[in-house]
């Protein structure tokens, strides 16, 4: 239908009001504040140029956080995609109980990052954990919790996040994979394609735009990792699992260093917006061919 001006006002005003007041305005005010000494507790505000950015980038803790989140994103996102895709691929044909299985598989995603942090704290370590139970069955000695190990802590955090998010990827991919017409699979099989061939030439092309969208969401989520480490490790041991979001939060609300907290928060936004530009560009080229 053709929309009049009044129609459009009615349609867009609620969202515009909501986003402007509770997302865009705070984000832009925050951006402005990063170029000043602004803080809710300060009596006077001065323009400070890029001083806040320099302070953040020179802070070894932030550098460690940026490194951790880069590793986290580069390892967790591909793993979530591959595992999520594989499970969805296995479930693509209808069978008795698939609907129930699909809901059961969504359960890890329904657990909040905080709850999963509490849970894995106990499962990783100690007398009641799942890791020592399995090791005991294999006749191996107990292992101290990887969360307290400098080298293993980040990997453990990544493993927990993959456990939580891969099922969500399956959930998002399954309807599209399941709706690929049976003939397409048969054609591929008849033409002698192996299972890798079927994945590459039948499954992937059918879900490519979807995969791109999911990658964008997962990347944003990873770059903002906060509650997944808050309980599990609190950023430790040392700086092994600190993330930029945790750093920003601690700066702004822990030690009341508002300008540095807000500035590092904006650096997260910049990274996500950069990823967003790549996403928009890639989706355009996909449409062209």
């Amino acid at each position: 239908m053709r929309l009049t001006r009044r129609d459009r006002l009615f349609l867009f005003a609620p969202l515009a009001f909501l986003l402007a007041g509770w997302l865009v305005l705070p984000a832009l005010l925050g951006l402005l504040a990063t170029f000043s000494t602004y803080s809710p507790f300060a009596t006077s505000v001065q323009f400070s140029g890029l001083a806040n950015y320099a302070a953040v980038v020179r802070d070894p803790l932030f550098v460690a956080a940026a490194r951790n989140v880069a590793v986290f994103t580069l390892v967790a996102v591909p793993l979530e995609l591959v595992i999520g895709f594989s499970v969805a691929y296995m479930l693509r044909r209808p069978f008795q109980g698939r609907a129930a299985l699909r809901v059961l598989l969504l359960l890890p995603w329904l657990v909040s990052p905080i709850a999963s942090g509490v849970m894995w704290h106990f499962l990783f370590g100690g007398a009641t954990g799942i890791v020592d139970f399995v090791l005991g069955w294999l006749g191996r000695p107990d292992m101290p919790s990887p969360l307290g190990d400098l080298r293993l802590a980040l990997l453990a955090v990544i493993a927990v996040e993959v456990w939580r998010m891969a099922p969500f990827v399956t959930f998002l991919l399954l309807p599209s994979l399941a709706s690929i017409p049976t003939e397409r699979w048969e054609e591929a099989t008849l033409s002698g394609a192996s299972w890798t061939g079927r994945v590459r030439h039948v499954a992937i092309p059918a879900v490519r735009p979807l995969l791109l969208t999911i990658t964008m969401l997962l990347t944003g989520l990873s770059l903002g990792t906060f509650d997944a480490v808050l309980i599990l490790t609190g950023g430790g041991p040392g700086t092994a699992t600190v993330t930029p979001a945790l750093y920003s939060y601690n700066r702004a609300f822990g030690v009341n260093d508002w300008p540095v907290g807000a500035t590092s928060g904006w650096l997260i936004a910049a990274a996500v917006l950069g990823a967003g530009l790549i996403y928009v560009r890639l989706s355009r080229t996909k449409v062209a061919d």
Partner: protein
Amino acid sequence: MAVTLLAFLLPLLWTALASLGVLPDNSSRPPSWRGSVSLDHFAEVGIAEPAFWQELVTSVLTAACAAAIAVGAGFLAAFGLARAPFRSSRVVTQGFLVLASLPAMAYVIPLSDLMRRVHLLDTFAAVVLSEAAATAPLAVFVLHGAVAQLAPEWEEAAVLDGAGLFRVIGRVVLPLVAPSVVATAVVLFVLDWNMLLVPLVLTSGEIKTIPLGLSDFFTFERELDWPTAAAALIVSLAPVAVLAGIFHRVLNRFALDLRTGE
């Protein structure tokens, strides 16, 4: 297949058993199980964290209101975008996805300051509206796909009969995309239910949701007893699990495909 399933569900099964008081005994060889099944630990949750049941109610209310507002505002805008004459509506929609990917940490620090200045800190309204704003972009993206798939002929027929915008949306569009709207509302409810950062920086204890409560009693009482923590986890998971179970058929319609609308 069975192995994958086990890997994803075993940790939760472990937690469920612990909440019932059944714990592994890792010091014996081979490891064994001890404890007998009881519901005592669920009662202990209310003792360890007296406000827990209150937090459960707060969580239901905030998540339900935030999801309803986000889906409502998101649906109207998605319809407007899908029927807008301008050509860049595709990029705009993708922009909403980028916005949906933006971590809350990117703007919650100034948001908390803004809310304090307009005297909304520690209010139900601030938490609900902030959560709604954080999740609305995702609703726009998904619902835009659903609306764009509809054949415009349905609406044209109604317009020829003299229907205005309200009638077209209420009688034609909404019934056709209802499954997508419900699916989006369920997913947004889960996201709001699990959200920590937004209520964390906007409240100082007045409006306490489940993730806040869990993080509190875990940060301050590291020695928390595992079966009690497990019981709290199971209780916090139950509402969303039941919701997902009830709506599992329409959840199929939560589609992030961009192919639609081309």
